[in-house]
């Protein structure tokens, strides 16, 4: 509770400081709009539905691409952790591709898929899959062998050992890979949306792009705030509970 109050006070002070800087009139309001005009833009965009629609389009692309990336990355990582052949081939490829900033997939996606939803999904999947694959592989390989031996003496075999022992034991690694994959996917999707107009749906990136075209700085800042808020919320809602779970169970952190 005290921490929440402290955080709120900080943001109130931040916005007040911003407002004071604008009030001095040293910078043109075209370049530095006041918090009030940004709030007014957000209010308008909220009322006419553009904000909700754009957030919906972006979130949908992210969600689908992320889930596809997870569904491919997890089993591939598990396979690659168990086979030297896969580790030396697919594992090495994944390591290489993971170092590639996922924005670099955008030109390729456009040439392959054209200006379609598939191009967007491809970029998100590429952002997710390699981090998840590498984290899963590393996590599974770092499971202490004694856990598996103990489980076997208790009658655990095959799939049961995977689901009840190997996966839970490597979960801290996997979740940190998922978090990284999420971060890569989110960044590359924003870049792709700013970069290309896709007629099947206008995401937050497009609103940012049009804000620039129209010289509407209140829109640009407003959308940036929305993007930050979504990123923060995703972190707090999707990943913080896992991290708290690990801290409690494994006794790490704090």
């Amino acid at each position: 509770m005290r921490r929440a109050v402290r955080a709120s006070l900080f943001f109130v002070a931040f916005v007040a400081g911003w407002h004071l800087v604008v009030m001095t009139g040293r910078w043109s309001p075209v370049l530095l709009p006041s918090p009030v005009s940004v709030a007014e833009y957000l209010h308008r965009a909220f009322l006419d539905g553009t904000l909700a629609q754009a957030s919906g389009v972006t979130a949908w692309r992210l969600l689908i691409g992320y889930v596809v990336g997870l569904l491919a990355g997890l089993p591939l990582g598990m396979l690659s952790s168990r086979s030297t052949l896969l580790r030396d081939t697919v594992g090495l490829l994944a390591l290489g591709l993971q170092t590639l900033p996922s924005v670099c997939w955008v030109p390729l996606a456009l040439l392959w898929f054209g200006q379609t939803e598939s191009a967007m999904l491809f970029v998100v999947v590429m952002g997710t899959i390699w981090s998840v694959l590498i984290a899963t592989e590393g996590g599974v390989r770092s499971v202490p062998p004694i856990y598996i031996r103990a489980a076997r003496t208790m009658g655990s075999r095959g799939l049961h050992t995977w689901v009840r022992v190997i996966l839970p034991a490597s979960l801290p690694f996997i979740v940190s890979g998922m978090k990284q994959g999420w971060a890569f996917a989110w960044r590359s999707l924003m870049a792709a949306e700013i970069y290309v107009t896709i007629l099947t749906g206008f995401g937050l990136g497009h609103l940012l792009h049009y804000g620039r075209e129209l010289n509407a700085m209140d829109q640009v800042i407003g959308i940036i705030l929305v993007i930050v808020a979504i990123g923060l919320a995703a972190d707090k809602i999707l990943f913080s509970p896992w991290e708290r779970f690990f801290h409690r169970r494994w006794g790490t952190g704090k």
Partner: protein, 273 residues
């Protein structure tokens, strides 16, 4: 209390465990190492705690792993209750030097792990069994604790409860107290003897500590290294519970260490110039 069906009538002469001519060779960087050479032993039904004692490299842990089914012998075979061992199984539970408890589960969930794999029991019975054994090892108040919150001694108590809960035919213990401090260890010697008196489980206990073996064991099988062999056997007939610091334990320990020293001497004589 146990969720097992009633055990068939037992004759005292039935053999619980037979190890027949087991040989195990490992490949290492510097060549082949014979961890076990033609090792045979028998444990009768009703025989309590058998200790495998020996220095490192005498193959005692390898032998335990082979009995557990975690490793396969190159030659020979192991029979438990007359059945050949082909892999790990709940009839032979193992306690390791590290507790090997799962950190993502709390104390009672760890004990339930093996019980949940046991067919023909209701979840309620499983829970009762788990609570019974946790109470027996003195952790009745820590059912919901997480593994990292426990001390080393408490972790080994949970591991003991986890190993006893599925009611194995044999309990295999691989230096389970070696990583604990002396005071915790001494308490666990007393507790293990008490628990043994309650459950009468056949236990095979591996240790390199002669006094520990005498304190716990009814039979001591002395193993020697390179190649790993059972060199000598002793029966310890001291009354229970035994105190590791008692004069009788110390006296037996002296006799056995003297035997070990005797087989070391000629070897040392050879190597000295």
């Amino acid at each position: 209390m146990s969720a097992e069906p009633a055990a068939p009538a037992q004759s005292p002469e039935r053999l619980k465990l037979v190890v027949a001519g087991v040989t195990k060779v490992f490949k290492t960087g510097s060549g082949l190492v014979t961890a076990l050479e033609n090792v045979s032993l028998q444990v009768r039904e009703g025989e309590a705690i058998s200790c495998l004692v020996g220095p490192s490299g005498s193959g005692k842990s390898t032998l335990l792993n082979i009995i557990a089914g975690l490793e396969k012998p190159d030659q020979g075979e192991v029979l438990v209750d007359g059945e050949p061992v082909v892999g790990p199984g709940r009839d032979r539970m193992v306690m390791f030097q590290e507790s090997a408890l799962f950190p993502w589960l709390n104390v009672i969930e760890n004990v339930l792990f093996g019980l949940k794999l046991k067919p023909g029991v209701t979840n309620r019975q499983r829970r009762e069994v788990a609570e019974y054994y946790l109470q027996m090892v003195g952790l009745g108040r820590f059912l919901k604790a997480y593994v990292h919150e426990l001390s080393g001694g408490m972790k080994q108590r949970v591991a003991l409860a986890r190993a006893l809960a599925p009611n194995p035919s044999i309990l295999l213990m691989d230096e389970p107290f070696a990583a604990l401090d002396a005071m915790t260890r001494e308490q666990l010697y007393i507790d293990l003897q008490e628990i043994w008196q309650k459950r009468r489980k056949t236990i095979v206990f591996v240790t390199h500590n002669v006094r520990e073996a005498i304190c716990l064991g009814d039979r001591i099988m002395l193993m020697s290294p390179s190649p790993g062999r059972i060199q000598d056997q002793f029966t310890i007939a001291l009354p229970r519970p035994r105190d590791i610091n008692s004069v009788e334990v110390a006296r037996h320990a002296m006799e056995i260490t003297a035997v070990i020293r005797r087989w070391n001497q000629p070897r040392e004589g050879r190597t000295s110039p």
